[in-house]
Symmetry: C2
Subunit: 204 residues, 2 copies
Amino acid sequence: MSMNKETLVSAVQKRIRQAGREGTPERVFGCRFALSIMSDNYIDIILGSLAKTDTSRVEASTGRLSTLYRGKRAQVLDALEGCFIHAFTEGIHMTLEATLSTDEGPCRFSEDDVCPNADSREIHFPCNAKLKLYCAEEKKGDVLASSIAAGHGVLVKEDYYCTVLKGDIQAVFYTIEDICKEMDHLPGHPALEVTLSVNSPTAE
Amino acid sequence: MSMNKETLVSAVQKRIRQAGREGTPERVFGCRFALSIMSDNYIDIILGSLAKTDTSRVEASTGRLSTLYRGKRAQVLDALEGCFIHAFTEGIHMTLEATLSTDEGPCRFSEDDVCPNADSREIHFPCNAKLKLYCAEEKKGDVLASSIAAGHGVLVKEDYYCTVLKGDIQAVFYTIEDICKEMDHLPGHPALEVTLSVNSPTAE
């Protein structure tokens, strides 16, 4: 079979594109987090929450300091919210500390787009939160975080080193989700640092 | 009294320099942090720690989500370490989440350089930690954090979104201090995110 110049160029370009897909893995979304439960029963509460959370769509690993979920953004956030909601216990003070970012490390992505913890989106309780979006342009991160929080009605104020939020847990998680979506449009690997707090005994 | 040109220029320059000192405040070092104590007695432990910590050299304020210390770097770190060490309770799992950064907001600096919690530098216990230095150059932050941790003998590994540390609490705090000193040489407002964990029941 003879191949003219046009066909050859097209074949080479196709091969380059394929190599590109294989050689440059998709961007992985990840969340490293820890729950802190101010109770003697903290181990039971955490183990109970982990057992109720469906992590079948993410790569999950737990160490001494934190748990790491990696995969598709929607599914990682679904697992994170599931874990937090399942750990919530009436009258028990609990905090979540989380780093949400992206990387290009190896990752086995879920083949589907199912969010198996979606039922946790129907649970409501009040939440205090602070967050900080670190990206190449300092001010841009703060402006983005604050404007998205304001859009969801949970912005309290900008304070030293963070933006302060308060509202229903669902509005707070939608804020987090929308900020994470904006990360795709920022250069490098922006990171969102989040702290959530429920049932704090400290007066407002 | 007559004023020649040289005296006049000198007087104007002096006034400009003074205005510069007043108008451009010194860079403030700050730490926003929260202790999480996995015990029914968490309120007593935190209040006891706050009572034992001398915060006379920093500007301190506490809210629902975190406590903020601002002032001179050495004195802020002294107060932070004092608070953490005083909260340490044998057999009780505790974590600290802290953001260390700088700002140019108004601040009443201590007139002396005394670190009134220096006795906490004599206390020793094992600690797990993770940290992340956010600065304009992504890689530079990670390299700096890891090399300083290695120098203090507490580096475990670089992991997704953080550097993992383990060692005596003093070596960990010296690592934090040295990274904070390096911030002076980085552009903008770099921020160090730190998590410390003691008495974790999770196996290594």
